[in-house]
């Protein structure tokens, strides 16, 4: 028995060590970003590299701040996220309810459009979407950024799965009372699906924030870019000035990170949830 305990202890120690090494590997690039951002250019390319800055320099942040219109970038990114989430929640919850709970002719045909979209890689739409936005004169605007994500096939699918699973008798009383489906949706179903909506919102926000190809082509002028595409635009121009690039990356990292720190539990649960339903 004692030997078994010993073995268990060693097992735990090994697992702990691996998890800690893994954790340090995850954290190191971020630490290195911050350390580099605080160094002078000369120190950043010193060999051997200094683990801690000899003298802390904040002028890299100043330079980064001047190189990119960060206030605009933050605003654009937050507006992109806000509108994408707003439209995804409204359209997906309504359509998800219709597909999951209302019987109407052509329902399956229409729902197959949702399934088809989920199978197609988004880049297959990107040239026509770009031509549309260009033709409408929307290039370099928030509208252009939001445009391809006005509706969410994945969101519709996710909400439909949820509404489909709710027992039928919940709304029977309401139907006998003469309530129409929209009232049932608004008064009974929406409140029930709060967790799903939070999960969908987080999922939509994350992927809007991380998108790169569309913001790069839709908005070419710097003050209309997102944080992602603007950081990407630093390549070439500031390529060798690593402390400045690291400072800019550091400044750009915060919007989603702060949301994550505050709503950590929802993030983790939301992602796990979209996985289990998807």
């Amino acid at each position: 028995m004692a030997r078994l305990n010993q073995k268990e202890k060693i097992n735990k120690l090994i697992i702990h060590t691996i998890i800690i090494i893994g954790g340090l590997t995850m954290l190191f690039p971020f630490a290195w970003m911050i350390i580099t951002a605080l160094k002078s250019y000369g120190e950043s390319i010193m060999i051997p590299p200094t683990l801690f800055p000899q003298e802390i320099r904040l002028d890299n942040f100043q330079k980064a701040w001047n190189a990119l219109p960060f206030i605009d970038l933050y605003t654009n990114t937050l507006l992109l996220i806000f509108w994408r989430v707003f439209f995804a929640l409204v359209t997906s919850s309504m359509a998800g309810y219709a597909f999951g709970r209302i019987e109407f002719p052509g329902r399956n045909v229409l729902f197959s459009i949702v399934l088809i979209q989920m199978m197609l890689p988004p880049q297959i739409f990107i040239v026509p979407q770009y031509l549309m936005v260009a033709k409408l004169g929307w290039l370099n605007s928030i509208t252009a950024l939001v445009f391809p994500g006005l509706v969410s096939a994945f969101g519709t699918f996710l909400m439909r799965q949820f509404y489909k699973g709710i027992p039928k008798d919940i709304e029977e009383a309401a139907i006998l009372d003469g309530c129409n489906h929209f009232t049932i949706f608004r008064k009974i179903m929406l409140p029930l699906s709060k967790n799903n909506l939070v999960a969908l919102a987080i999922f939509t926000a994350l992927f809007a924030y991380k998108e790169l190809m569309w913001p790069l082509i839709a908005n070419m002028s710097l003050e209309k870019m997102t944080l992602s595409s603007a950081i990407a635009s630093l390549k070439g121009q500031y390529d060798t000035e690593f402390p400045v690039v690291m400072s800019a990356s550091f400044i750009a990292m915060w919007p989603m990170l702060l949301l994550y720190i505050v709503f950590q539990k929802h993030f983790i649960q939301g992602i796990a949830f979209t996985g289990s339903k998807g």
Binding site: G23, M26, P29, Y97, F125, P128, M213, V245, I268, I271
Partner: protein, 299 residues
């Protein structure tokens, strides 16, 4: 009276069914379905996006078939996928199993592993570009301490794809881990207790209980990782400069698509390339769904 009210009920159902699904369906039609067919149309034309496209028949596809640059990019994409997906999913599973133990601070580790997911890929790419810098990068410095000489991570055409696969594994580990961990949490404790009574060891329990019961989630993670890998563009775009001579030898198919669509501005040929990418993704997804019968257990 009753018939009338049933009819009325039906009419109301139809009405709300159409009205409530309309915004999504109209949106999908305009944003996705019509563009999909327009891409197919464009692939039979020559187009700069400004003047009207000229119909050229199957010219783009015959050009595609004999374009070694395209096929090299397909091979690069597959190579990148083979390097990043199996190892990435395996590591996620491994760490998920570790974190599923009753150890202190699990939620802190989970938070840390998930971090790269909430940082823009652009910022991640910039940091790794700096870490992997062959002259001043910290990684080469650390390796030099171990006696390993200067590796051109992002310069040497043999190293670029493995480097980017490594960054991909690092940045997606947490996301996949969260999903697999959710799957592990759903396995009833009683299965393991029964196995303990039968005297099964850890390895047996892992292969006979954990893997089969988590296999649907594992399959989901595999499919999403596969689709993401076959669509890789972001890290290439940021970490490799267009002036990098190795880029022609290492670019992925979607990077090539972007170049043709928006830099070289041959939107017709670009459409043919993206359709090829679509076919490849479809084939691999279908293959996965076909193979899942052999190893995925649904209850």
């Amino acid at each position: 009276m009753r018939v009338k009210s049933v009819n009325k009920q039906k009419a109301s159902n139809y009405f709300w069914g159409y009205v409530m699904s309309a915004p999504s369906i109209i949106g999908l039609m305009i944003l996705n379905i019509i563009p999909f067919f327009y891409t197919i149309y464009l692939s039979f034309t020559e187009s700069d996006g400004l003047s009207a496209p000229t119909f050229v028949g199957v010219e783009n596809f015959t050009r595609l078939a004999s374009d070694s640059e395209v096929w090299l990019s397909v091979m690069n994409t597959l190579y990148y996928t083979v390097l990043s997906v199996p190892l990435g999913v395996f590591l996620s599973l491994l760490f998920a199993v570790f974190l599923n133990n009753k150890i202190k601070g699990v939620s802190i580790y989970r938070t840390i592993y998930f971090l790269p997911m909430v940082v823009a890929p652009a910022a991640i790419a910039m940091v790794w570009k700096w870490i992997l810098n062959s002259q001043y990068g910290i990684l080469n410095f650390l390796l030099s301490k171990l006696g390993i000489d200067n590796i051109g991570w992002l310069i040497n055409s043999k190293m670029i794809i493995p480097s980017l696969a490594m960054v991909t594994i690092w940045s997606t580990l947490g996301y996949n881990l969260i999903l697999i961990l959710a799957g592990l949490k759903n396995i009833p404790e009683t299965y393991y207790e029964a196995a303990d009574i039968d005297g099964a060891n850890g390895v047996r329990k892992f292969f006979h209980i954990t893997i089969p019961l988590v296999s649907p989630m594992l399959f989901f993670v595999l499919i999403t990782s596969l689709m993401a890998a076959l669509k890789q563009f972001d890290y290439y775009y940021i970490m490799l400069d267009p002036s990098n001579p190795a880029i022609d030898k290492t670019q992925t198919i979607l990077y090539l698509f972007y170049e043709y669509a928006f830099t070289i501005n041959e939107k017709g040929y670009a459409s043919a390339i993206v359709l090829l990418a679509f076919v490849i993704i479809m084939v691999f997804t279908a293959l996965q769904f076909w193979m899942q019968k052999k190893w995925v257990h649904y209850e």
